[in-house]
Symmetry: C3
Subunit: 666 residues, 3 copies
């Protein structure tokens, strides 16, 4: 591994006449592409009938690509088992929450808990790894494809039911322990044996939250187990090749850290525009009026960076973009044409956030099937599309800029998958979403030009950071609690809340096991009120100056810490001093900005208020600026820089600049 | 029974270490609590395995409570059959409208028509009644818990199907009679036998409304039959103890009058804040802009009183509040913290409307399972919560004020469950809701400071009332029709409409069987137009002065009565003279107020326009005023009173005043 | 057939005492009714038990009607098989997309692919045709009733599954051809045999669009096959009687042209007010703010005419209205009372658009079952309703005006059912609806006072038209392509786009098979952006004058044709010259109007901007004007006519005028 940046491409030789392959490979190489990902959906071509394999085409495709010097990312094809597989294992299909099998006819039609399909997954992985594992052009492996996409982590099948009971038996040992952990006495929900435990769907009213949370943990573990089986085989049979999985964005249904621990490199599939519409249409909490339209063709300015930082953490620092949106796609509610230049902007933002390789999806637009309206670098008629031009520019710029890495960030933000499951299990107010809250913190930090390291809710070295933020961690381990306490003791600044460690790991409110870090014990949460985001409460500082609003989640607390901001009912909303701060509500953007300003002072963090749509990231060669807005931005006029490379000081819409150290104004 | 008021508490000894019980009991007694309700969810602790009982803990809990002088309300635990019951009777689960069994894992997971479960219900009732029926501390019984909660009245199971066919056979005698009653000739829907009659779900388009209405009647009857079986056993084995059921609010899926007829006391579970959000989020018809937010932390000022009066009728005058909201709860879409003082306000409003006992739910917040975010009088850490303080104040005030009863109301409002089912079966316009219309009348009356007696759609003595209002009674019995005609003849004033008795009991439009009271035959409804509430029509009096708007439901009528108000198309909207008045549309609040003003004149009823959020109720010791608003209200300045007790003339938000007779200005 | 206009009525003798029949018949005749449709829902009365027939009542009803000179439209009763049929064929029920059988209890409860029910359909048709086929009073036949109503075309039953596999086998011959046509290689969706092909429901994510499109084609074909079987029998056994089916409005799920080809006369069931609310509540794209309320009691001014013209095409020029709304109905979300006069207006508009007979639904309002709130010409109490009066007026006016036919229209609009299925299969932006777009063109044309001929997407004589408009035809046959090219060559003007022939018949983007008419090859669509209708782009002409807005669907094109309008990003939106024009976006009403103005100049079509709510149609005896608005319209003041019959120059709301040739101003 060097820090040199690379381009990649997703390619489907099986979709095209073999006549095109050589020319395609030549053009890829000429464009500056290093990696070609293949075969993740090709199982029906590799094994057209059970046990009958067809290797010629794939051998030939590999040789053709290799002949142009391209390196291959080979995939296990388990996201798309062929139709005959369903005849062989009729109960391998996942089952939806209403009890309907999720049928063959698209992709990801398998239940992670089905033993027969698990066997097939290991079998095909072995066969592929044996055949290509030591091929010199096979540079890396991808396992499966986009775990969790199309809400496929949780299955309510008989296989899942049985596996869940086993998982519970292993976790709890005896049924009494489970009954106690879940509080099943509550509505006479006590079980006499693990065999009596149902899946938590289709109950009369909500099922026990502990039951649901365990089912979500179980489902997440099944993904890791499935992936781990493939990883073990690949590691053995294809030594020296990094193993990657391409995570999907906007997917919080399994613990990416656990899967990431099995991988060498974390990667993700980055579709900024579709994610933006989904976010804005579901619940645009924390973004101003008009935000959807303002970034309709660019994507949310913070969503990509958030995922880069999140998945870089999952990969313990190693990140790829396995699929990058190259133009309009087909799957979002609305699919606009990206603003000219955005493909390049997204590429550079990914590199600046640590991506080693950015790979575009896909080489040429498919003329058939589900994604025929999904752009590629080339059109269906083989003419170059807009993204081709932008990718070529990125390739040239990679050569110019050379190797670099992200700078160390001053702020660490704790992000936890279990907290998302816990809070969605009991929202308490229907606008509450853990990931929206975490993103709100991330957004506020980036708006101030500050880089963020996303960290796990685990014991770790916090000394690199000036500030650690812990929003809405539903439960805290003893280790993390001690870790934070020590960090505070040695001068680190911690901002916590709201909804901080108010449950224990069993999803109970047990005074004994909440594990709040000692300094936070000064705060006692008496009760909580939730409200629609429209019913906001004004929050002011002690000089009675309005600083923003609180909504969605508001705790009534007593505190031993100095109160800094309070609401119109004189309830403390923001409190703290020296190294420890707590916010007891969901802060709107203005309030969150005000809170960060206070905490930054304590933590001695520099900041600048970036204009809407301008974002930046520091790297070892300087600071990258990205203009997500539809207006020009002058870095000089903004007093951000005296000189800039790439697009220079006058950034057009979708423009990117690199400001070298020493030419920064701030 | 005396008219002295009492406090109660819902307590779950099985949720807590036995160490806490004695202290809990002591504190309850000290707080002024009389009744402790226990065991309604304790079946799995009473009978952990089929036929194996565990009595020690329950005996001990009862003795502990009794030792502090507390009286017990013992419950049948049939709302939460244990998990082993489902192994014993796998088909006992209710089935939802889509055919999915409603699984174990929460509560109310049984079908009222399942014979096996019926047997189990009788069995456990007998066992409990035999054990505790003559215990001196057992002061009353509660059957089951919140019939109908979580939409559990109607089940589409095989058991329900079979029971429905039997019910129909008993009702109609022969299939020809059913075919005629339903008009099955309409789309060749005729049956040759009762065995052919399906449940009315999953049909291609809407099923026959008569079919659906009978299914709703049947489902309601099953609840009464189920309850009746428990009542019979309790009456026999526990003589002298009143039998109560705790009805849920906002539940119109079964006939509470029929169940009420089996009980000694009617009670209900009063959660003002959750009901308010539900109502406002579903269809805030008839409430002004901002109403949701204005009463977000207090509840709708008319919703509690409406239920008090409704369920007092169901209990033939005897009413308890079995569960009163003590703080934020967990189950509503949003769960705010009640305004300080509201728990007390709700308590006094309940007493003024005839509640003998108000019982808070629950003693201490549970630290686990579904309701762990539901407040209690005490926090999970056993510290008193805000409601503890307010309950203590209520206890003191009960002592000060002594016994009292509601005054006789000048207005009777006919409320009918079947009409709700009939109108929801064929809304004709999708904003139409019978209970919303009835509540709109109730609200308008209360806004004018007038007390209301809710009465049944049956023959009864109407002489106590100056005015009887009959909104949207879908069908009228001959008895009621004659009853009303006689009442009118002897000087009583009746306001009817809209949608009055336009069907017969078979849900047909039969000229012969509509049974309109004679005086109303002067009105002929030609046809009906429905519209969204946004498309309102202006209504004016004969002096062309605008009096309000009509929407949702507008009849085109010819009338022999003098027209008082008409719409811009010169259609009569309000007509009548002397003792008989008819309104042919859904009146918006302004129009309804104007109509009542006219009718009040005829009926010689005094009124006052209360400011928003101020409500009052007359009792034998004076008039209670409640301030539901967030602003102070001065009763003197409002010219309502010269002197007041409790919070006095200057009512703070959530304040309560008692104005003794002689000190009233109006 | 003469061109004389007739009235008809839908009558249900089985719903009424036989005592009423003679009087009913007399009154019908007196009212001026010619045709009486009977028996379409009477199967349970004709065959009360399997194989046992009851003919007396029907014989008697027919004789009674005949005795008054009325002609009978006899129906096959297959839309409502009796309950015993479901015992005989338990799997005859259609199955919904979630796998639930669509149960007995309303109507249309059969799967078109069920062989047993097909046999029953042929059996009952034969029996009826044998009995009444040569009866002198049987003037015509109606097959079944409203195919497709209640979304009944597509069934996910086992019968449908098997029939679909056979249909595919017949279409593709071998499975390899299917795999290629669908592009099944895409996600390893390849099949090894037709037996493996599932129905495209309940897949994990969207199924292959080619798969779905074929399933829609198959489902449509099943309707035609079902209907064809009845038609064959009727033609043989009841010679000389025209065969009709009553299509439903707002139904695009099967190809009405194919069914129309089997019939002698096309008819439809016209319920203007319900359709209007449905359209406005779903997605009021292309109608101004307030449109719903403005036409709430009249119906959309263009919706009826559009269907008349569409179904007249399906009937190769012969059209009836089999059911016309007579007053408020029961089935729409809201059911207002029609503005006085609308029943007459709708009648005349139908006649002017070629209806030979307009038949009202129904004679007398039913007092029972699903449609008891559906008006008739008479009330349930047998008094005449408002529609009775209006029908009588229409009858008189028919006599006055005599025979006439629609004039030849200058504009042809290509409308294609497959395109609707194709575009709903892949909307690409969720506001896209083919029929909404087609209606937008139709509306814009009618707003300019221009008559429209709706034509099929097939080879045909285009010489009668000055202009042919081809919006969003998803794929083009070679014949149509050549046809259009020839039409252009000989001077015809064609306006195409957007989304024109961008797929081939297999739903692939194949450069070779797109069959764009040669002149349109000057336009290359590079890519497409979709957006919510709220995000509109301003479009201006070359003089930079704003002409309207583009939204929903916007193509990025290169063009060899002169650009006429472009958007603010300088993308061509409207281009063309001489005989060929293309619009690359969904044009809002203003833009569409501007585009038509330009094209009209080239095509030499006269136009007038009609005020909102005024519409007109030219016939052989003059031009009919209809006032859909709530305001008076003066044709003289509008400079439209100097003299007018029927309601004259000053048209009241709901007024109709006939302007004879020579008295027109324009």
């Amino acid at each position: 591994m060097s820090d040199k940046k690379h381009l990649g491409i997703c390619y489907y030789p099986e979709h095209w006449s073999e006549d095109l392959w050589q020319q395609d490979a030549k053009e890829m190489a000429a464009l500056g592409i290093t990696y070609v990902r293949i075969a993740e959906f090709a199982w029906s071509r590799i094994e057209p009938e059970p046990g009958h394999f067809s290797w010629d085409w794939l051998d030939s495709a590999i040789e053709t690509l290799a002949s142009e010097g391209l390196k291959i990312v080979m995939c296990t094809p388990t996201a798309t088992p062929p139709r005959w597989m369903v005849d062989k294992h009729p109960d391998m299909l996942a089952v939806d929450e209403n009890g309907h099998p999720r049928k063959f006819g698209s992709r990801r039609h398998y239940c992670f808990s089905h033993e027969g399909y698990r066997w097939e997954s290991r079998r095909i992985t072995e066969i592929l790894a044996e055949r290509y594992g030591n091929h010199q052009s096979i540079a890396a492996w991808q396992t499966d494809n986009e775990y969790g996409c199309h809400e496929t982590v949780r299955s309510w099948s008989a296989s899942a039911h049985k596996a869940f009971q086993l998982w519970l038996a292993q976790k709890y040992g005896n049924i009494k322990a489970l009954n106690e952990a879940w509080g099943n006495v509550f509505w006479s929900m006590e079980y006499n044996s693990f065999e009596q435990v149902d899946l938590p769907n289709l109950t009369v009213t909500e099922s026990n939250p502990s039951h649901r949370l365990d089912f979500k943990r179980f489902s997440s573990d099944q993904v890791a187990e499935f992936n781990g089986e493939q990883v073990d085989i690949l590691r053995k049979l294809s030594p020296g090749r990094p193993i990657i999985h391409n995570f999907m964005g906007n997917t919080f249904s399994f613990d990416h850290y656990k899967v990431g621990d099995q991988l060498d490199i974390s990667s993700w599939d980055c579709y900024p525009i579709g994610f933006h519409s989904q976010y804005q249409m579901e619940n645009p909490l924390g973004t101003p009026e008009g935000y959807w339209e303002d970034y309709f063709q660019q994507g949310d300015p913070d969503y990509q960076a958030f995922h880069h930082d999140l998945y870089r953490q999952a990969g313990h620092g190693r990140l790829w973009i396995m699929e990058l949106q190259p133009g309009p796609v087909n799957w979002a509610p609305y699919n606009p044409i990206p603003l000219k230049g955005m493909v390049r902007l997204w590429s550079w933002e990914a590199f600046a956030h640590g991506a080693e390789t950015t790979s575009y999806f896909r080489w040429r637009q498919a003329p058939f099937a589900q994604e025929q309206m999904h752009a590629g670098l080339k059109q269906t008629d083989n003419k170059p599309a807009q993204a081709y031009v932008e990718a070529a520019q990125v390739a040239r710029e990679i050569e110019e800029l050379g190797a670099f890495t992200p700078s160390e960030a001053p702020v660490a933000l704790v992000v936890d998958y279990e907290s998302h499951w816990a809070h969605e299990t009991q929202q308490q107010g229907q606008d509450f979403s853990y990931f929206r809250l975490v993103l709100a913190y991330y957004r506020a930090l980036r708006q101030k030009g500050v880089d963020v390291e996303i960290i796990r809710p685990a014991s770790q070295d916090l000394s690199p950071y000036k500030l650690v933020i812990v929003p809405a961690l539903y439960a805290m381990s003893e280790e993390l609690s001690e870790n934070l306490a020590a960090y505070i003791e040695f001068g680190g600044v911690v901002l916590g809340g709201p909804r901080l460690a108010q449950k224990d790991k069993n999803y109970q409110i047990s005074q004994k096991t909440l594990n709040l870090p000692k300094p936070f014990e000064a705060i006692e949460v008496l009760r909580v009120g939730t409200s629609p985001k429209e019913f906001a409460t004004t929050v002011s500082d002690l000089a009675d100056q309005e600083r923003g609003k609180a909504y969605v989640w508001q705790e009534e607390v007593t505190t031993g810490l100095p109160i800094l901001f309070e609401d119109t009912n004189d309830h403390p909303v923001f409190m703290g001093e020296n190294n420890i701060y707590y916010v007891s509500a969901w802060a709107d953007p203005a309030l969150m900005s005000a809170i960060l300003d206070e905490v930054f002072k304590a933590a001695k963090i520099d900041k600048v208020e970036l204009p809407n749509g301008l974002r930046r990231s520091k790297t070892s060669i300087g600071t990258f600026y990205y203009n997500y807005s539809k207006n020009k931005m002058n870095l000089k006029a903004l007093r951000l820089a005296d000189a800039a490379e790439l697009d220079g000081l006058e950034l057009p819409p979708a423009g990117v600049a690199l400001v070298r150290e020493g030419t920064e104004e701030l």
